[in-house]
Point group: C2
Chain length 633, copies 2
């Protein structure tokens, strides 16, 4: 922790909780994070058991949480609205201007050593568990999503280089990437293909020196170029001469914006230029680049024609990163809503006047307003718990890989492969809903930019699209993860949920009993529906894709509810032990929110069940030409 | 029709259907409109029975539809994206610049006599039924929503003046408003109040000449000033000296931007100035004004202290106008999606290769893409039918009022009062969903402005907020319309739905049978749920507001399904009579979409039913201070 504390500027010293609570500005939800980390998910024990490179105890966690909260509240959140208004500016193919304040904030982030938090000390990192970086990233995502994208996407490139690049490439590129001196990107999409990467046409031709000449156009490259760092390192999918058609003929290359000398100094430009940045609905703070590679010098990462496989090594990680975007949007929308519903007055509460000194009561007293607030809270806090479970698994997998326990690591990888599309698909859709409610709570004022609600709505909309749309996640879950593995992952998952509903819970006298029974029944139904789909899909594969989105959402609600039950159990437990006065409310709110989830969110599975059981014919019978007789035939 | 045809420029002559179908531009859905107007809702008979001022036959309807389609496709739709990008510009308090092309388009609209389409010839109108103007407005709304707002809001002012103003005010202001020479606004909202208009503080002080001095600040005044017309006539809510507090002390005033002489000429400014226009998420083509009234001269409309009642005379009309926004957004999103899903290729269809000449099949072959398309189609076409039913009722009510049949008119008004919040609440939420799917279908490309999908998403978002949020509609429906009238409106409505499920349908051999039974069961459930709410609300009024949004959405889906059943019956009937070849597909698609609605949309009522039955405690038990322990306490 030496590096971290040494580099942490005085300005980042944690401020008191009281000071945090006075404004509508973003406040890192540290109380809830600590409850989940220490009480619900027992990260202290988890970290102790990891045998990690650098030990991570409670003091370290607290320090990272507090310092991150301060960074986010003091430095990053204040830049968020300005970044949306100003956006990024294309100046020339090698100069993209980022919004005001981003460079200074990035320098602070870099100099504090945050980019290396969970990377090995061998590459200049702090050697802490990767889960801690994700805990931090939720705060940054809520404070300033587009700022997070620069270091966030860079981590995708770092992970890829660590896993697949030669020692030589690693030694040259990892230290400046891990320190944040460079950033990196992933260049996959081309104009004609996104999800279907088998259509990639960018070319790679061998040079005599073992490097390659890369030529082609890539689009939608987030943070593809910018003025935060002197160099940008691209991981690029391209085809070698004579490579097989489709997905099995794609290779992965490292292509720097500027050539890097053996001394580590970035020099001449390398045939990589940004031809335009996209004009988007949101996420204005990060440039979405169309990049032209014109005989740019690149180096092979990994094995020829295995590029897609290499790229997908970290697909779970990048998809969980997108799930973070959903959770962060829900938290931000919740905070912005909660502030307003306590301030804004309209009508009297139906249960009687609450505030006789004013002509009307705060709108938080209206039940339909509470429905919106509690939906946001349930998604934000429940989603957080879902994320924490996954990153614990990822930590364990990493340690197993390091110890050579291939079998154990593979088992966890399969479990993560099952959970990830649920989190990515469900939590981004849920994040969208929370952001939508964040506008709705404000009435007409929600439509006005200054009230901040609408930026969350625009920024989070991309989450259900990139890193694979919700529809792609659903196909991945049901087709690739469940059906191709003959239902093993869902059976395992349901076993876990059944065991969560212990005899103790099922016979308890509290609200826990009802909720445990509900979870048990919904789990059984989820499993049963999977069997029904499998049986039908045996004769018609369209049963899988026609039910997949409803299936994913069904699973998402059951999973969300299971996490609320876990939190509720922990809260009941804490109350039974006797807690401080103020804390009582915290635990009661957990129990009450769990009740909301079981009474009002989990029943949405009823609609998704109907979608799962509906016949394929109701989708596929219509002739393509018959969808419309008026237009676009 | 003399005026209309005389003023219709040659450029507006209808173009052939073939020419309309080649691009992704907006195409007025005239085939579906005709099916619904002539076959499903029998407007020919309806108009014949009205005994309207000017007879409206099929030729007239066809002429209005075709000319409107041409206006929308050729003139208005091409301005839509530019208006979003350019927006409106505040130059000074009396000069707001509208986007490029709006003035020319408005002049064309005005000179064609469209603004007076459904107003009496006495005021210079065409004297046609008001429903025809709504049929037209859906096209304009889809082609260019913010353009529609200028004449659309003006109609609110016109209706108010016709219903409540003195002869003198009517003679002075109606002819230029009906011709489109002036526009009008409704000035209700103030910074501290929107839904709760009892808090209005704008003052009206009497002048010796019988006029008043109006002073105060109004916000969110759509098209509150602009450069399309020389004058803007405001209908303003304000308080007289000594007026009772709350809603019973508010009066309504006519306040022109420029004083109008007895010669009808607009002259000096009148103390009405725009202090700013809002920076909004969408609807950039129309200025949302903050208006300062500084001792502006105004005239009382109607009776002192009855201003709110007068304003609410046309609340159904203005809310149906907002439901149109939802339907139009769904239609526009559907068209934009359909075009893309036939063009964009990704992967192979699961049911086998569709297009061997290409490396991948169009995405319309993927079941999850079809789910999105059919959801949009179901909302657009089903919503259209819901609107047509309501405007027929409004036509009949108007004629009854003219004939002095107070009782008949009142009965229809009550029926409209019941249907309107369902249409406004449900169809705007559904329109939002259709627009969301319009982005989703495009994947990452949906997030890019040039692909048009995201503008629909931003523009339609306001629909669920203004003219009363969805939550306000829900309270209006369940509290005011149903409970205060001791369930009479829902009982009547359910009777209508039961009678739609005829013995013939319930015993037919086609898919109609299943759908009719489903509608019957859902109707019974809707009615039963109403009784349960009523019983519970007797002891706790929060049962109404805590269930109201789920109740509205439940009713919305049942109502949507009932309209699809009507269309399906008409389609089955047409097929049984034998239709032209091309037409077969049209009717088959109606039947297939109805199947989609009953199999995949109507079951969403299962989730809403659970919300209706959930205990109030799961919303109201949480202490206000316990919602969060991290922020904004």
């Amino acid at each position: 922790m030496r590096l971290l504390t040494a580099r942490l500027p005085r300005a980042l010293a944690p401020v008191g909780a009281a000071a945090r609570r006075l404004s509508r500005a973003y406040h890192a939800p540290v109380r809830d994070m600590r409850f989940q980390l220490y009480t619900v998910h027992d990260f202290e024990k988890h970290y102790a058991s990891l045998g990690n490179e650098v030990p991570c105890d409670k003091d370290t966690m607290d320090m990272v949480i507090d310092a991150s909260a301060t960074l986010c509240e003091s430095e990053l959140a204040p830049l968020n609205m300005g970044a949306d208004k100003e956006g990024c500016t294309w100046i020339d193919p090698h100069t993209i201007k980022t919004p005001k304040g981003f460079k200074e904030a990035y320098n602070l982030y870099k100099e504090s050593g945050w980019q290396g938090l969970s990377y090995s000390e061998a590459w200049g990192g702090q050697g802490l568990p990767s889960s801690l970086a994700l805990v931090q990233s939720e705060m940054i995502a809520a404070a300033n999503w587009t700022f997070l994208m620069f270091p966030g996407l860079s981590k995708g490139a770092i992970n890829t280089i660590i896993a697949h690049a030669t020692d030589e490439l690693q030694k040259k590129y990892l230290p400046p990437l891990v320190s944040g001196e460079f950033t990196g990107t992933m260049c996959l999409t081309e104009p004609q293909c996104g999800s279907d990467l088998g259509q990639v046409t960018t070319k790679a031709e061998p040079n005599p020196d073992g490097s390659y000449r890369i030529s082609g156009t890539k689009i939608f490259i987030s943070c593809g170029d910018h003025d935060l760092t002197e160099n940008v390192i691209h991981c690029v999918l391209a085809r070698l001469p004579g490579a097989p058609a489709g997905t099995k003929g794609i290779s992965l290359f490292l292509v720097p914006k500027r050539k890097v000398g053996d001394d580590g100094v970035s020099g001449e430009l390398n045939g990589v230029g940004v031809s335009r940045i996209e004009d988007k609905m949101g996420c204005h703070g990060s440039p979405t680049c169309q990049i032209e590679f014109e005989e740019a010098q690149g180096w092979l990462i990994g094995t020829e024609n295995r590029g897609l496989n290499h790229m997908f090594t970290f697909i779970n990680t990048s998809r969980l990163g997108t799930a973070v975007q959903g959770v962060a949007a829900a938290e931000l929308a919740f905070q912005n809503s909660l502030w307003y519903t306590k301030e804004r007055r309209s009508m009297r509460a139906l249960s009687g006047t609450k505030d006789p000194d004013h002509v009307a009561d705060p709108i938080i007293w209206h039940p339909s307003v509470r429905t919106m607030l509690l939906t946001q809270k349930a998604i934000a806090e429940g989603g957080r718990s879902m994320l924490y479970e996954c990153v614990k698994l990822a930590d364990t997998m990493t340690v197993m890989q390091q110890k050579g326990d291939e079998k154990g690591a593979h088992a966890i990888d399969e479990r993560l492969g099952f959970l990830t599309p649920i989190l990515k698909g469900f939590l981004t859709e849920a994040g969208k809903e929370a952001a939508d409610l964040g506008i709705q709570v404000y009435g007409g004022h929600g439509y006005i930019k200054d009230n901040k609600a609408e930026q969350v709505y625009r920024d989070v909309r991309i989450a259900a699209l990139w890193e694979g749309t919700t529809q792609i996640q659903a196909l991945d879950l049901l087709g690739r993860k469940i059906m191709l593995q003959k239902l093993k992952p869902i059976n395992e998952h349901c076993r876990g949920l059944y065991s969560q509903c212990t005899p103790h819970l099922l016979s308890s006298n509290s609200g826990l009993r009802k909720h445990a029974w509900s979870l048990l029944m919904h789990t059984a139904e989820w499993q049963m529906l999977t069997y029904r789909i499998a049986a039908r899909a045996a004769t018609n594969r369209e049963w899988i894709s026609s039910t997949s989105v409803d299936y994913l959402m069904f699973g998402g609600y059951v999973t969300l509810a299971s996490h609320w039950l876990r939190m509720e159990v922990a809260a009941v437990d804490a109350l039974s032990k006797g807690s401080k006065d103020e804390e009582d409310g915290f635990y009661k709110a957990k129990i009450q929110t769990s009740d909301f989830v079981f009474e009002r969110l989990l029943p949405r599975t009823r609609a998704h069940k109907a979608g799962i059981l509906a016949p394929v014919s109701s989708l596929m019978d219509m002739a393509v030409d018959d969808f419309s007789f008026d237009h676009a035939r």
